[in-house]
Amino acid sequence: MAYIIRRIILFVVTMVLVSLITFSVFQVMPGDPIRIMLGTEADETQVETLKKQLGLDQPLYVQYIDWVKGLVTGDLGESIRFSRPVTELLADRLPVTISLALITLLIVVIVAIPLGIFVAKRQNKLSDVVLSSATQLGMAIPSFWLGMLLILYLGMNFSFFTISGYVPWTQSVAGALGAILLPALTIAIPQIAVKFRYVRNAILEQLRLDYVRTIRSKGITEKFVMYKHVLRNSMIPILTIFGLITAEVVAGTIIVEQVFSLPGIGQLLITSISYRDFPLVQGIVMYITFIVVLINFLVDILYSVLDPRIRLN
């Protein structure tokens, strides 16, 4: 319990600091943000109105508290560019990004775990070299270029794939899959290339332990050893890795949405930056970071529930 309380405190402290950083970064901005937003032709009254509207005539700490209140209650004010509430804009885009992230995660889990088990069983010099090259290549290739290559080799050859734009699930499931699958693969492939090694290492570490030798010497089949004992015990470190993957997948959607013109949160963020729509930028940054921090927090908690040794440290 003490461990969980400590993690909760750390979570809150992290989020407060994250919000302080996000808030203050926009304070040190060179130039007057209002002027930047309105452009050079704006007159004094327009500037004053917008200032009032955004609460910029208040002292800083009041502005910060108001902003945090808005974050918590989901009222982030209006987007300057779209003249609509920020939260409404986010809600519009959320299904796209969530579908993309979930399908990516599904692909990563379905491929990386069996692949990790497969290579853990076959250890030799050659496969080690091939695998570490795959990992390094997976880390080095820019995701957006990989996306373009997938468009080139898959998207243009198979009419199943939509290479640009989004189809809602309610309209057509096949259409939605066709639009989401290539971007999902774009994020998933490097993740698989890098992360299956963690699965492999976690399994190899278990295989070295005494209990494996004991059950093997009892004559239990190798399959049973792997799936009943080793895999179960390896799940704990593997779980932490998937916490990490989730965070990276969420971040990965930002760029990849742009490659495939998917109208998700990432595209909204890029648009809001180019239009200098700062309330919208701040809101998106906070919510995405919150989701990532929350996932890591939940994984930590789950980890300690599954492995009581963690709590004692």
């Binding site: 992290t14 600091l17 970064v25 390094q136 880390m139 957006f144 760029i255 180019s274 930028v281």
Partner: protein, 274 residues
């Protein structure tokens, strides 16, 4: 050189150095010579495939892609170097002080570093670029800030470990100033993991610069950037698919070179890790 030779069997070291030296040579050469002027447009000659005159073809304005790739090495190395310099200087300073002084300094510095690390890297980069504005220097500063926390963490653990060692205690005893102890005595002893981290950061910075430039928020024209070239090539993916390969492969190889080098340095400095 002798020690270098003894590591010649290290594939990562050999390939990594080979890749990076090739790009370095291209970069130095590009200051004096490129096959064509990188900004001269020749619309009659646009989107021509690879040929003996234009090795990597020409872009949508008829500019020679190979020359632009060459010039692009300058951008890549500039952003990488500035980013890593910022990251290493501030990261070492912050991590070193946190580790050496400890107490509340450690607590405050490291909580801020944790908070910076809580942001997904690309989100923090985009936010900083939104504030500072795009451009080659602003991009480097933004990426440098992102590189600080991980380097600070590594520096901190080294300083914590070393501040209890006898050479540090002796130096303290004879009245050496804390600043000198930290940077003249401890730093050289904890530098190897920092060098590995710097090499990784180089690769990460180049990938991030390419991503920002691809989004149109990084390096701005007329400065040639590989990421930007990729963005431009996307419009011609169907009609001129070869356009995308030169910038894509350049980024991948450059980043790969730095990752291989950092793996090699780690293996050489700490043989136990393998």
């Amino acid at each position: 050189m002798k020690t270098l030779m003894s590591h010649a069997k290290n594939i990562n070291l050999v390939l990594g150095l080979l890749i990076l030296l090739s790009f370095l040579v291209l970069m130095i050469l590009s200051f004096f010579y490129t096959p064509y002027d990188i900004n001269v447009m020749n619309v009659a000659n646009k989107l021509k495939g690879p040929s003996s005159e234009h090795w990597f073809g020409t872009d949508e304005f008829g500019r020679d892609i190979f020359s632009r790739i060459m010039k692009g090495t300058q951008t890549a190395f500039f952003v990488g170097t500035l980013t890593v310099t910022i990251g290493v200087i501030f990261g070492t300073l912050i991590g070193g002080m946190a580790g050496y002084i400890g107490g509340w300094v450690d607590e405050v510095f490291m909580r801020i570093m944790d908070a910076l690390m809580a942001f997904p890297g690309i989100i923090l980069a985009l936010m900083l670029v939104a504030v500072f504005g795009p451009g080659i220097v602003n991009t480097s500063i933004a990426l440098g800030i992102i590189a600080i926390p991980s380097i600070a963490r590594i520096a901190r653990s080294g300083f914590i470990q070393h501040k209890e060692f006898e050479y540090v205690l002796s130096a303290k005893l004879i009245g050496v100033k804390p600043f000198k102890i930290m940077f003249r005595h401890i730093l050289p002893n904890v530098s190897s993991p920092l060098i590995v981290a710097a090499s990784v950061s180089f690769g990460v910075a180049m990938l991030a610069e390419a991503a920002l430039s691809y989004l149109g928020l990084g390096v701005q024209p007329p400065n040639p950037s590989w990421g930007r070239m990729l963005k431009d090539s996307q419009a011609y993916l169907t009609s001129s698919p070869w356009y995308t390969y030169a910038p894509g492969i350049s980024i991948t190889f450059m980043v790969l070179g730095f990752y291989m080098l950092s793996n090699a340095i780690r293996d050489i400095m700490d043989p136990r890790s393998n």
